[in-house]
């Protein structure tokens, strides 16, 4: 009962995947459309070069049959001249084919790379949360390369093979239809062999691709986590992990090779056996005076011409399979719809005053449990809203909803009364400045990093922003000043310095609304004070949402929201909340009271001055 049903579904699935595969190939071919001129040029020069190649044996046959039989030197000369001319023409076409097919594939790769990159930029945070950098990179490198190579090595070569086969078939039929029929026997066998090998290679190749990706992850992790590896003396463990994966990849690769190693010579064998049969049968016919020797020679020559496409069949099948899996993976990304898009007719957000409202906002990542529940906040222009809470209480999530990196599952967020879903994302984000916990700097100069958001920033503006962010003194102390390269390949900045670059970067945008995640303290003591000052300066006159851990910020806030498990459990100001003895008062007792005491001491001893004196002394 069960098994036949299963069989049917298997067949259906196979059929389905067959159709799906065809669809992928059609889409890849569709990529050629904008480049139809060079593509057509490649095809035409291909056909012509095949045609010219076919003329040469015919000329040879003519030489043997006519020229030699009658011993006319002039016809010999004529034939030779003709051979030279056709070959030159063929060479010309071969050039066209070689160049144009490569050109087309490069143009397609260029398009794909641009399209993928553009698309990745439109995909929202939720996509990038899920996607691993390594995986995306492999789409952009390995998979594009696979499609790129598929075009000349799979598609166009396949076309050449097809054209050659058809042309040879036609010619053979005109020469001698008996021999032509015999030759054609090999066709179904070759097709069958290719299809079969393709089917068996497919899973092996996708296995290779997956395992190679996994090997990459092992490598990436082990290398970027080298400090941990060394600290735990786990080098051998990592090597074993790597070798196990590496071995798997090797085994899979060998499986694929074994298959190709078996298949390709087999195809050549089929063709060669057919040639032998032709010579044999044709020989009998010549002996029986039913066929001229010249025709037989020509026929064998033509069959030999089939050797090149048949020999490349093996590679072709591989490229077809690689192109297919590359195409599937690329289109998989391209087909992912951004979850957050501009509403039709979305207007630009202009002349923002900075009145921000969260109205009964709830949020969950994907289908997970709700991270935020029923959040309502009203921030008047210029107000500072401090958000407090333990790890995992949803503080950062609130910040991410405002620039619409994620979409609220229910409720709405408005700016000056406009729902943020009704304005364009670009205008929204230009008005909402963001300083996140994880500061990412680009491999560029300090200047470029500060001006990253504003293309037209002048040096004066950059320096002004850097000054407000308390970065200027540091910057001019660097060997190349603002032109010093920072990031992975340049000067490594400390956490506090990075944070100040991010502050300057945001400042340059001059946003009306500011979102700050200041929950960590990966700064050294020296920087602490500077950051505090920078933050104070930045918040002035802007509506600010800040995940805060500094007492001064919290005390300055117009409203304090205390978050617990996604809900606001307490709201008010420092003065109103402290006497209530609720969660805020608890947090204050545990974490903030000491800060208060320090501050008092700080005021008493004016430590900044003292610290500087000490430093000067130390330098001396």
């Amino acid at each position: 009962m069960i098994s036949p049903k299963r069989e049917t579904s298997k067949v259906l699935m196979a059929l389905d995947s067959w159709k799906a595969n065809l669809l992928i190939f059609i889409r890849i071919i569709g990529l050629l459309r904008p480049h139809w001129v060079p593509t057509l040029g490649a095809v035409i020069s291909m056909v012509l070069s095949t045609g010219f190649a076919l003329i040469v044996p015919w000329l040879l046959a003519w030489v043997i049959d006519t020229g030699l039989r009658h011993g006319q030197f002039s016809s010999l000369l004529l034939a030779t001249g003709a051979i030279l001319v056709t070959s030159s023409l063929r060479g010309l076409c071969a050039y066209g084919q070689g160049y144009l097919s490569q050109a087309v594939s490069n143009l397609v790769a260029y398009d794909l790379r641009n399209r993928l990159y553009d698309h990745l930029q439109t995909l929202s945070f939720s996509f990038h949360d899920e996607a691993e950098t390594g995986q995306l990179m492999s789409r952009l490198t390995v998979d594009i390369e696979a499609v790129r190579n598929f075009i000349p090595l799979g598609l166009l070569r396949g076309l050449v093979a097809l054209v050659t086969f058809s042309a040879v078939t036609v010619i053979l039929f005109r020469l001698d239809w008996h021999l032509a029929m015999v030759t054609l026997i090999c066709l179904p066998i070759l097709v069958l062999l290719s299809v079969q090998v393709g089917r068996r290679l497919r899973p092996i190749w996708s296995g290779v691709q997956n395992e190679t990706g996994a090997l990459g992850t092992v490598m990436q992790e082990s290398l970027s986590g080298m400090r941990v590896v060394k600290a735990f003396a786990r080098e051998d463990f990592e090597i074993a992990k790597y070798e196990a994966k590496n071995r798997e990849v090797r085994e899979l690769n060998m499986g694929a090779m074994r298959l190709s190693a078996w298949n390709q010579p087999l195809m050549v064998l089929v063709l060669n056996v057919v040639t032998v049969v032709i010579v044999w049968i044709g020989g009998i016919a010549v002996i029986g005076h039913q066929l001229s020797l010249g025709v037989l020679v020509a026929v064998t020559q033509y069959i030999l011409l089939l050797g090149t496409p048949v020999r490349s069949f093996g590679y072709m099948v591989t490229w077809f399979m690689r192109g297919l899996s590359g195409g599937i993976r690329i289109f998989g990304v391209l087909d992912t719809q951004p979850t957050i898009t501009d509403a039709p007719g979305a207007k630009a957000l202009k002349h923002v005053k900075g009145h921000v409202r969260f109205e009964n906002v709830s949020f969950a990542y994907g289908n997970g449990r709700e991270v935020l529940q029923d959040i309502t906040i009203d921030a008047q222009p210029g107000q500072i809203i401090a958000i407090l809470g333990a790890t995992g209480s949803g503080k950062s999530t609130i910040l991410h909803l405002l620039p619409r990196f994620y979409e609220a599952t229910s409720g709405r967020v408005t700016i000056d009364g406009q729902d943020i879903r009704k304005v364009t994302q670009t205008s929204l984000r230009r008005n909402v400045g963001l300083v996140l916990q994880d500061v990412f700097l680009f491999n560029a100069t300090l200047r470029d990093n500060i001006a990253y958001g504003v293309a037209s920033a002048t040096d004066e503006q950059i320096i002004a922003a850097a000054k407000v962010a308390r970065l200027h003194d540091f910057a001019i102390g660097l060997p190349d000043g603002y032109d010093t390269w920072v990031g992975e390949r340049g000067v490594t900045l400390s956490g506090g310095q990075k944070q100040r670059v991010a502050i300057a970067r945001t400042l340059l945008l001059n946003p009306r609304i500011l979102v700050l995640d200041d929950s960590t303290s990966s700064v050294d003591m020296e920087t602490e004070y500077l950051i505090q000052q920078a933050l104070d300066a930045v918040m002035r006159g802007r509506t600010t949402f800040v995940v805060a851990s500094r007492l001064r910020t919290i005390k300055n806030a117009d409203k304090i929201m205390v978050l617990e498990k996604g809900r606001i459990v307490e709201r008010g100001t420092h003065e109103t909340l402290l006497p209530q003895g609720g969660p805020y008062a608890q947090l204050y007792d545990l974490q903030l009271r000491e800060q208060e005491e320090f501050e008092a001491r700080m005021l008493a001893s004016s430590p900044e001055q003292q610290w500087n004196e000490e430093k000067r002394e130390a330098v001396r």
Partner: protein, 606 residues
């Protein structure tokens, strides 16, 4: 290595002049010999297989060449003389020859790919093993992305070279030699006559090769810049989107992408040039043969069959040449890839176990820095005549401004770097006299950036002690107070940690890394700014975790949170690589020196 990692520097502004031309240009001209020399031992290990493969290739070539010869014989000897029996025999022989050829080729390809895969496997394993043994100073100055690209794409390039390219090229060369011999054997005059075109061929090829090489190099450099940019932009996607800079980045990327396209177009233009050249030269050879051979035939001094076979040979003669010219770009790429791989393999290991280094016995945890001088750069010492004594079980806190050398001290204790003068002693053993493994397995390190591996939370905690039971893992988690957090997750300890632990908060990750360190149960623990990334409100959890973690161990704590520092047995204030103050919290406050002022200014509070 170092040089090339900097050439890419000027990408955004200077990429045209600098990096694109420069990135792969410093590959020396003599790389062929260098690579062959380095590659030798790897191939040598599979000598047997390679020899078998080459032998099979010779067999295959001979059989392959027998084909046209036998067909020629069939036409001349048998069809020409109406000999049906002879024709039948030739036919059978031909079929046998072809079946043998098929098997020979199969085994030859198979043995070659087998050897190739083993070689690649060994090469990549050696590379990875070598990378594991390189000291941290290498990683300080090297970009992981570039190393990764060597391990991945360079091995990939070699792979396609070894598995198909090299094979067909070798096959082509062998058959070329075979064809030359066969042609000479058939008719010396005719053969020599058709070879007269070869010098033209060589001159053209040599000329072409120079252009091709340069343009292939350019494409390599262009694509590596494109990919580096992509990598960076994907990693920084959040920043790009939050600054609404998509359009500008698209334009910038398009510019690079277009440059890459254009270099590739140029390269394919040059690469395709060789095709018509080979074609014309081949036609010249055929023309000469037919002309001269035709005259001979009409004079009766040459048989038609020989002439037919000869033209067949000439066609085959140019096939390998066509093949080689098409594989040329691949060979170029493989040469560059191999050189880059060997560069990594030849990077010297700076920190090695001494010959005859002993295992460090179970330690109590006494640590002494004796007159230590060290600088990452020899001329710029970070620590000078540094002395510090830590009794077993003591907690020593180090405070001081950035660049004072705090983390350096930690790194020296675990022997991540080797000192230039003095000695670092653990229980009286110089760290350079014992094996690195025995030293580090007794020292735990918790870093500012809690690095977790992809895998389950349980696997990550177990990283500290691989053989620990599930219960012990939970025990460690409980001790640092992260157990409840973990069990609240839908899949508990089996929750998969994504790339770099992105699905956990920094605080959670740090607590897990504490559990990992606790499970390893080291006698000496180093906390390098381990609490810096934890938000103030998770701090309480961390404080309790720390108490458990430090209990009964020698601990070196680098911190700027007062709570972590206050309880230390000894607080060391570091400035400019020297100790300027030392004592307990109370003592130092009383002295009213630097520590007191730091304290007043506000360590990270709590």
């Amino acid at each position: 290595m170092k040089q090339s990692s900097y050439t890419i520097h000027g990408r955004r502004n200077r990429w045209r002049e600098n990096s694109l031309e420069g990135a792969d240009e410093n590959v020396s001209k003599k790389f062929d010999w260098y690579v062959i020399k380095k590659f030798g031992p790897y191939v040598g290990r599979y000598k047997g297989w390679t020899l078998v493969s080459v032998a099979l290739m010779l067999l295959y070539t001979v059989l392959n060449l027998a084909n046209p010869f036998l067909i020629g014989v069939a036409i001349d000897q048998f069809i020409g003389h109406n000999d049906l029996r002879g024709l039948a025999i030739t036919g059978i022989v031909l079929i046998i020859v072809n079946v043998l050829m098929w098997q020979a080729q199969y085994w030859q390809v198979w043995s070659m790919s087998w050897a190739g895969q083993q070689i690649l496997y060994n090469l990549s394993s050696d590379m990875f093993t070598h990378l594991q043994s390189l000291s941290l100073s290498f990683y300080d100055r090297t970009q992981i992305g570039r190393v990764m690209s060597r391990l991945q794409s360079d091995i990939d390039v070699l792979e396609s070279m070894l598995s198909s390219g090299l094979l067909s090229m070798l096959g082509s060369l062998v058959s070329l030699v075979g064809i030359i011999i066969a042609m000479l054997a058939m008719n010396v005059t005719l053969a020599l006559l058709s070879f007269t075109v070869l010098p033209i061929m060589f001159v053209i090829a040599a000329f072409w090769q120079r252009f091709a090489q340069r343009s292939f190099r350019r494409t390599r450099a262009a694509i590596s810049v494109v990919n580096a940019t992509l990598q960076e932009n994907i990693t920084g996607m959040r920043v790009i989107q939050s600054l609404a800079r998509e359009e500008r980045n698209r334009d910038e990327f398009d510019e690079l992408n277009a440059y890459n396209r254009d270099t590739n177009l140029e390269a394919s233009r040059i690469a395709a040039l060789i095709l018509p050249l080979v074609e014309v030269v081949a036609a010249m050879a055929i023309a000469i043969t037919v002309l001269y051979g035709g005259v001979l035939v009409s004079q009766g001094s040459l048989k038609v069959g020989v002439l037919v076979a000869f033209t067949l040979y000439i066609n085959r003669f140019f096939d390998p040449i066509r093949e080689i010219s098409q594989q040329y770009s691949q060979l170029q790429r493989a040469g560059v890839a191999a050189e880059r791989i060997f560069q990594i393999l030849e990077t010297p290991v700076e920190i090695k176990d001494k010959p005859g280094a002993e295992e460090l016995p179970q330690i109590h945890g006494e640590v002494e820095f004796r007159d230590v001088t060290f600088g990452y750069n020899r001329d710029l010492p970070v620590l000078r005549d540094f002395n510090l004594h830590m009794k077993a079980g003591q907690t020593v806190a180090i405070v001081g401004p950035t660049g004072a050398g705090k983390s350096t001290i930690a790194g020296l204790l675990a022997r991540f770097y080797d000192i230039q003068q003095g000695s670092v002693l653990v229980d009286g053993h110089d760290v350079r006299d014992v094996t690195q493994h025995s030293l580090r397995s007794q020292i735990g390190v918790v870093l500012q950036e809690p690095f977790l591996f992809t895998g389950t939370i349980r696997d990550n905690i177990r990283y500290g002690r691989l053989e620990a039971a599930d219960e012990e893992v939970a025990e460690a988690a409980r001790a640092v107070g992260v157990h409840d957090l973990i069990t609240q997750l839908p899949e508990g300890y089996d929750t998969l940690i994504r790339e770099r632990g992105r699905n956990l908060s920094v605080g959670q990750r740090q607590l897990i890394s504490f559990a990992r360190a606790l499970l390893a149960d080291p006698r000496i623990l180093i906390l390098d700014e381990a609490t810096a990334n934890i938000d103030t409100f998770t701090e309480l959890l961390v404080q309790q975790a720390l108490k458990r973690l430090l209990h009964g161990r020698t601990a070196l704590v680098i911190a700027h949170r007062l709570s972590t520092i206050k309880g230390a047995d000894n607080i060391v204030v570091l400035q400019g690589g020297r100790i300027v103050e030392q004592g307990t919290h109370a003592e130092l406050l009383q002295r009213n020196g630097i520590y007191a002022s730091l304290y007043a200014m506000g360590f990270r509070h709590t």
